[in-house]
């Protein structure tokens, strides 16, 4: 842990004084949260049972997974915390624990009210229509049937699902499913909203709607925890970021600082992507050159000396790299 201060107001951050938290009302406090569970661990099928005994390799059995290892954090009113970390670092398990949905192995979570968790796999009923899912979801959140019926029109309009609302949810695309889940989870404005990668699959229209609604929630002094691999999204939504790795907090602090550190530790995959693209482009150019040469050779099959017509044009790897570089890079909205 590099920095565990939960104070994100830089101007007040003159030392760890007692009056730091005076106007910061905590809405969620997690203390030393641990989550362990047992899982089946299979043996490596390429080693035979006989050899395993000889070499004393452990056989497939139940293994303990220690997904979250002693995370503490405090979320304040109106605050948004981003959580970043590689796949399998325990982010989702952590937020499920923070929502009070699974048993903690150690530690405790205190909150002003139960956080609403919004995940990609939000459990809706696939065979039921969107409309019935809205009804059931909101009844589960404690609304009455009459209330839901009154608001149904507005809810469906917000979801933007149109006619699809009466089709079984199993026919929805992942983006449509995300719309539905988001609509349900935010219909009863939660004090604490936890978003686990749920906005990633939405289109631009949906993202805009979602952003508006999230701003409304924040304006109403609600607080938020956002898991996302889109670092620019995290940077724009959160003033504070927690970097999680192997179930432990690597760093907790101001968004810019933590994101910069996280990026330098995990070089953006986009760079690798660019390299791959450049290589593919080079290959394509070389192939085109070869093709041209072949065409020219076929055309001039009767002649005795074959000289490519554009022999003066640059060729070879160095030149093709130059040519490939200014190639348009789609979907480059990353944080450089």
């Amino acid at each position: 842990m590099i920095d565990t201060t939960s104070n994100d107001y830089a101007d007040e951050d003159a030392g760890d004084d007692d009056d730091d938290t005076e106007d910061l009302v905590p809405t969620l406090v997690a203390r030393n949260v641990h989550v362990r569970y047992n899982s089946h661990a299979d043996r490596d099928p390429s080693t035979s049972l006989l050899r395993m005994r000889r070499k004393n390799v452990p056989r497939g059995s139940r293994a303990e997974v220690h997904a979250v290892r002693g995370v503490s954090l405090t979320l304040h009113q109106g605050e948004s915390i981003g959580i970043v970390g590689s796949n399998g670092s325990g982010k989702s398990t952590l937020v499920t624990a923070l929502s009070g949905l699974i048993e903690l192995s150690e530690g405790e979570v205190l909150a002003t009210s139960r956080p609403a968790l919004l995940g990609v796999g939000a459990a809706l009923r696939p065979k039921l229509s969107g409309r019935r899912n809205i009804m059931l979801g909101l009844l589960a959140l404690g609304l009455s049937r009459a209330e839901v019926n009154n608001r149904m029109k507005a809810i469906i309009k917000f979801s933007g699902l149109g006619d699809a609302i009466d089709r079984p949810m199993a026919t929805y695309s992942s983006g449509m499913r995300a719309r539905l889940a988001f609509t349900i989870a935010t219909e009863v404005a939660p004090d604490i909203l936890i978003i686990d990668e749920a906005l990633a699959v939405g289109d631009r229209d949906f993202r805009a709607r979602a952003a508006n609604r999230l701003q409304e929630i924040r304006d109403a002094a609600g607080s938020m925890i956002v898991i996302s691999h889109n670092l620019s999204e995290v940077a724009s939504m959160c003033n504070r970021v927690i970097w999680l790795e192997d179930g432990e907090v690597v760093q907790d602090g101001e968004a810019d600082t933590v994101l910069a550190n996280y990026e330098s530790a995990n070089p953006s995959p986009k760079k690798a992507e660019k390299r791959m693209k450049r290589r593919a482009m080079r290959r394509r150019i070389r192939a085109r050159e070869r093709e041209k040469a072949l065409e020219w050779a076929i055309e001039n099959v009767d002649g005795d000396i074959a000289i490519p017509p554009d022999s003066t044009a640059p060729s070879g790897p160095a030149a093709s790299e130059q040519a490939a570089d200014p190639a348009p890079r789609p979907s480059d909205g990353g944080v450089a």
Binding site: T4, D16, P26, V29, Y37, A97, L101, L110, A111, R132
Partner: protein
């Protein structure tokens, strides 16, 4: 960590959310979701036969066909019907009541597994799951009872005032079965193996509940008959048969059956609630 400690002290409204809610609060949360509890079984049933050609007709066809199978095998073929005046009604009554019991109890072992993803994305008192499952089975049991009444009328039984006592008997059956469902739901969560083992045990109960035959016509051994009499499912079946067929049933069943129902419901509910937090976690 000093900031964390301080903020906890200064905020009185923070409540632990990773601890089991106290019983009173738990029941209050359950009652606040009464509309949800009623909606879940209906939506479960709505999709149950969605992929079939006949759709919801199966809710009626299923008990009818089951009754038919048992009637053919145990009526004319094996003649287990000795000592029973109206064997079709006698048999089908037993089958329907027992089916409601066995489906809820056997299904209980899978309840929590089936709803794992729901529990990991939404908070609600977990007792809703076994309760709604039992309610769903009860709703499916009612068309079965309609089949029984139809057979009764078709075989010459005439309606009597005793039929009016059927609803309260069925409610007692529902309470008892729901209690059992709470128990197997938690047990099935702890020992997933129960899913394979329990059906065999329940099958034993099937033969020990006098579903197919009248025990007193087959044995006069007092202790053997006592085993039947003490079996809550046998009591419930006997009471339904008393109401429909005017078959004698010991008076003390009227106390024993609701007694069993209360003990199993309250005990089962408490047993289930004690593991409230564990249901969403991976086992």
């Amino acid at each position: 960590m000093s900031t964390t400690e301080r903020s906890v002290d200064s905020a009185v409204e923070l409540k632990p959310i990773t601890q089991r809610p106290p019983l009173r609060q738990y029941i209050r949360e359950l009652r606040a979701r009464s509309e949800y509890i009623r909606a879940v079984p209906l939506s479960d049933m709505r999709v149950q036969h969605l992929d079939t050609l006949l759709g919801n007709v199966w809710f009626l066809l299923n008990p009818l066909m089951q009754a038919g199978v048992y009637l053919i095998i145990f009526g004319p073929l094996l003649a287990v019907d000795r000592g029973v005046d109206n064997y079709p009604v006698y048999l089908v009554t037993g089958i329907m009541v027992f089916r409601f019991f066995s489906q809820t109890v056997n299904g209980g072992t899978r309840n929590m597994k089936k709803n794992e993803s729901l529990m990991r994305s939404l908070y609600f008192p977990r007792a809703i799951i076994p309760f709604a499952a039992s309610l769903s089975n009860f709703y499916q049991f009612l068309p079965g009872m309609a089949v029984v009444l139809a057979i009764a009328l078709a075989t010459g039984e005439s309606p009597s005032w005793r039929w009016l006592l059927l609803p309260p008997i069925l409610v007692v059956a529902f309470i008892f079965v729901t209690g059992c469902g709470f128990i197997t739901s938690r047990l099935g969560h702890i020992f997933p193996d129960l899913d394979s083992a329990l059906p065999h045990i329940i099958r034993m109960g099937f033969y020990g509940s006098g579903v197919l035959y009248a025990p007193e016509s087959f044995t006069s051994n007092r202790s053997a008959l006592l085993v039947f009499d003490l079996n809550p499912v046998f009591q419930l079946v006997s009471l339904v048969r008393w109401a429909l067929l005017d078959r004698p049933s010991p008076d003390w069943f009227w106390l024993a059956a609701p007694g069993y129902a209360t003990v199993f419901f309250v005990g089962g509910f408490l047993y289930f609630w004690r593991a409230e937090l564990r249901y969403g976690s991976q086992q």
